[in-house]
Symmetry: C2
Subunit: 122 residues, 2 copies
DNA sequence: ATAGATGCAAAGGGTTTGCACTTGA
DNA sequence: TCAAGTGCAAACCCTTTGCATCTAT
């Protein structure tokens, strides 16, 4: 049974307000504005709980801490701007990934990451 | 000016002998068999030097430590077996990634990761 | 009342760095 | 010779955990 604490309310709000994946530190900053003395352990535990219950999904970019976003976005991939570092959601996917598989391999999932310049930075 | 120490010789050998991406710990184990008292700092510094000089490229899988492989393999992607955890090189690529881009975005690079079962584990 | 949640601080895992010592060019 | 490279340990960053306290139910 989950409890509805003011800490988790603030953490949930950070994610619903954001339109992009958030990392634990960003969540601590955002939610910390509304909850005095919010601890990082609380943020980590809340995120873990939200992922476990399926409300959040991890967005793991190579070489940096995991970020998280709402799971109701459906299948999509991400774009990371090399100038400003922001991560954007992409719509759509590509076909033909199976043709990359060696013989005997079974494909279960995939991840596509695009890098470049975003609208603003281009 | 780079020096040809026995430590770096052993570390280079670990990469040339391996036909897969290696992480720092694996390198420490492999090269450590030939160099007594090899320190992890040495491995990290050597890898960093090899990447800087372009001999190695990082292979960063979400959620785990970076691995490294020879840069002369050309453009390719990777497959990670969910059972045994091994990482395999894939040949080929896919087209049509540009169509995922929002308007105004500029595509510079991309990464594709496939997950599933390898030949042995399937 | 009481089990879940919190905050703090300590502990972990992986990576980097400071520093004195070693060694290749 | 003498700067690059090494080994050790301490420092760092991010994340997890132990534990006493707090609080929603």
């Amino acid at each position: 049974m989950q409890r509805d604490t003011k800490q988790r309310q603030a953490i949930r709000k950070a994610f619903t307000d954001a339109d992009r994946p958030l990392g634990p530190t960003e969540v601590l900053d955002l939610a910390g504005e509304h909850v005095d003395g919010l601890g990082q352990a609380t943020v980590y535990r809340a995120i873990k709980a939200f992922v476990d219950e399926g409300w959040l999904v991890p967005v793991e970019l190579p070489g940096e801490p995991a970020r998280y976003e709402l799971s109701d976005k459906g299948h999509h991939h991400h774009f990371r701007c090399r100038t400003c570092g922001s991560v954007f959601d992409l719509v759509g996917c590509v076909k033909g990934l199976e043709k990359l598989l060696p013989k005997g391999f079974k494909l279960e999932d995939h991840e596509i990451l695009l890098y470049g310049l975003c609208d603003n930075c281009a």
